[in-house]
Symmetry: C2
């Protein structure tokens, strides 16, 4: 976008399509060039606000014609730089495509535009006795969550976006609109393009509509907290719970550093030791039985008795503390940024992997609480980073390398739910080797000009 | 393979790799050229029996070099001609790659070679208190089940191959070996190649190893049968059960024609009316509660009281009757073949779709019981076909067209679990429109010579 006349021509064409929903305002661009990671903004040249699949398609055709990059944007809650525009281009802000198009209570599914956020959807569904389970913490858009294959606290029971997206409408790099999947609960009809687009981080096309699974609201929900003197014991309790097939809805691990941060930030007084936050869903008697079974397991592994949160107010307070973990981390050091990184390992490796990670954090002289979706073997290290200290940045980078190397060495993955973005491209190569060539080949077929969110996932610009 | 000298050269090269595990025996070829559908055999030129990923890769390199088609073969239980060799070529019989390579009880996963059958795996796992849930009826190989995205009776609770395959080793058309996914329960690292290969019916590569999820054996299992005077009432009971989130493990519908066939074939005396076969898994009290809740729902919809099968012998007898449904159909007309076809629709459309289908069967003068994995909206019509009667074949084909058109019209799919193969290629186009171009583009990247199971899924030869 160096040439001025090209920019003028692009803006003319975009404005003819979208009228005043085209912005080159510096603040708008700056804001759309960064996410919730610690990286400084890399702004796009233009931000557009389409209202329909047709408009996204029309914009894509203009961009394809002029070889301009396209970067889809939800609400900017990604963590690995997925929304940044290292090559400039047109940011497609999907937040105004926020209509719930169809809800089918008998089928427990719905169709939404990509800009609907998960909280908006759940508010919409509340009166109909249903909910959408995937909960990554942030109030992200459904399109963004699908793009990064997001998950969160209750994936252990309800699955991630991978399991909950039934079908998509996608605008390809040349403006073609394709629909994938459908409303049938299962299908053996051809290649699974839905799963190909889920997790592709906008590099294969722009998701404009999603059909997703819903769940009926449960009769009873109870949440509880229990602490352990020892991290391995906490993980062993989780492993036993899962092996027994107890359908626990949430099972989160916070290490002692994270618990200290949570106590300080939220004015609470939990024990400063490895702690599990749990939630049980079901009928009243099923919840009671699950709680009793898990309580026994926890006791056998030396855990404390449950502190219960049975009503909604108490439960919300408990989960607010958990969801505020990142802010609690940030509050540990004034003026610092947070760099949340995540890996996922086979659960049998989790305790040892976290133990080594804790040791590594201490030896690296970093402040970095650990919090994990422990039922899935997924854990986050939230590095609280002084971005003005080059040596600390170096140590943080080196620590992140070792964290991922440890995860890969035991059969894990370089990211459980944050995605590759800009931050983990070389780790993807380490993890998947020659399979990355296949991914690049598929990208080449769908986006021969490399205009769809270029620079993400793959090492080439 | 018309040229004799080429065939000689191919056999020389294959024999140098696999010694006597190369066959051109007419019976062997004939047997490998057909599946459990009604189509006459289209034999490959050669059948090979590799023992390792390395051998599959070596054979693929020879085939790629000589531009010879490759057709992967498990035990031949596909239904839409997936294993047939319309262009000749080399059939890769994977049945001798039948080792369970790794079982990880703490992680509830295992790694198997593609030729391991599901019963073999479950026998292997029995003493370790775990099981692999996907159960398509036939004792298919794990590689074959992944290739057709198989599911079956308990997908409503445990998912299909789509949900249960964590990672794959695949030999590509040029002999390259790639691994996809991994042992982590979730990952956001790059494109989801695992789901791309699952359901690709051997057209993108040959699956040689699989990492799959396992489940802990449940404390209690109970199975029950109940009948309804009316099909809609049965389906409504199922919808309510699922809406309430009752985690029923199996919920199968057999229509009155199927029940009559089952009674005759298995010497039973169930009511000849729409009937649900159910199974509950969990702790003793959870199973009791589920049974009570579903029992109430069934009664509210005018269903009969449950006939219980609580011990393993009774349960096996009950499910044997269900699994023998196809044979029961075949026994309805001596000397006929069976043509099982399947569609899947949003469950809200299921009762009406089955009602219209039953009417259509009667009007078409066909014998065709209906049996469905009703919790998923998936149902099978088993056409009992006199393959010597061209007019009956014509009527069956026309019926199948209308069946699929009805499913697509209500947002369903042309196949829930049997796949496309040779039989449903034009329906795939109808269902997915221009997305099929994308599928073909992906195939072109991975298999530029069109050697991997050519003629399947896509209309081109």
């Amino acid at each position: 976008m160096a040439v001025h006349s090209e920019m003028t021509s692009l803006l003319t064409r975009l404005t003819s399509l979208l009228d005043d929903r085209v912005s080159t305002n510096a603040n708008t661009r700056e804001q759309h060039g960064r996410d919730e990671g610690f990286r400084p903004s890399q702004p796009p040249d233009v931000v557009v606000f389409p209202l329909s699949t047709e408009e996204v398609s029309a914009v894509a055709k203009v961009c394809a014609d002029m070889a301009v990059p396209m970067i889809p944007y939800g609400v900017g809650t990604s963590l690995e730089g997925q929304v940044m525009a290292p090559n400039g281009g047109v940011c497609m802000d999907m937040s105004r495509m926020n209509e719930v198009l169809q809800v089918n209570p008998r089928d427990l599914d719905c169709v939404v535009q990509a800009g609907v956020t998960r909280r908006q959807l759940n508010t919409y569904l509340r009166d109909q006795g249903m909910f959408f389970p995937v909960d990554p913490g942030a109030d992200a858009t459904m399109g963004g969550m699908a793009s990064t294959r997001a998950s969160g606290t209750n994936a252990v029971r309800y699955g991630t976006m991978r399991e909950n997206v039934l079908g998509l409408t996608v605008v390809l790099a040349d403006g073609r609109v394709v629909t994938t999947g459908g409303r049938a609960r299962k299908s053996s009809a051809g290649y699974d393009l839905t799963h190909l687009f889920v997790g592709s981080e906008g590099t294969l096309g722009i998701i404009t509509e999603l059909t997703v699974r819903l769940f009926g609201r449960l009769e009873a929900i109870s949440a509880a907290v229990c602490s352990f003197s020892d991290l391995s014991a906490a993980v062993d309790a989780v492993i036993e719970t899962i092996q027994l097939g107890i359908p626990v809805a949430r099972i989160e691990l916070l290490d002692e550093v994270q618990m200290d941060a949570v106590n300080r930030y939220s004015g609470l007084s939990y024990a400063v030791s490895p702690t599990l936050f749990l939630e049980f869903h079901g009928t009243r008697s099923a919840v009671a039985e699950q709680a009793e079974l898990v309580g026994d397991i926890v006791n056998q592994h030396g855990g404390s008795n449950f502190q219960w949160a049975r009503d909604e107010v108490d439960r919300n307070a408990l989960w607010r503390a958990r969801h505020d973990a990142a802010y609690a981390c940030k509050a540990l050091r004034v003026g610092c940024e947070i760099w949340p990184t995540d890996v996922c390992v086979p659960i049998s490796q989790l305790a040892e992997c976290i133990r080594q990670t804790r040791l590594d954090i201490v030896q690296s002289g970093l402040v970095a609480p650990i919090v994990g979706h422990v039922g899935d073997g997924n854990f986050h290290v939230v590095i609280v980073l002084d971005t003005n200290d080059p040596d600390e940045i170096r140590r943080a980078n080196e620590f992140n390398e070792r964290l991922i190397a440890r995860a890969l060495a035991v059969g894990g993955t370089s990211t459980g739910e944050h995605g590759i973005g800009l931050g983990k491209r070389k780790h993807l190569l380490r993890e998947h080797g020659n399979a990355v060539e296949l991914m690049a080949g598929i990208k080449q077929v769908l986006d021969p000009q490399n205009l769809m969110n270029p620079g993400k996932i793959f090492m080439r610009p």
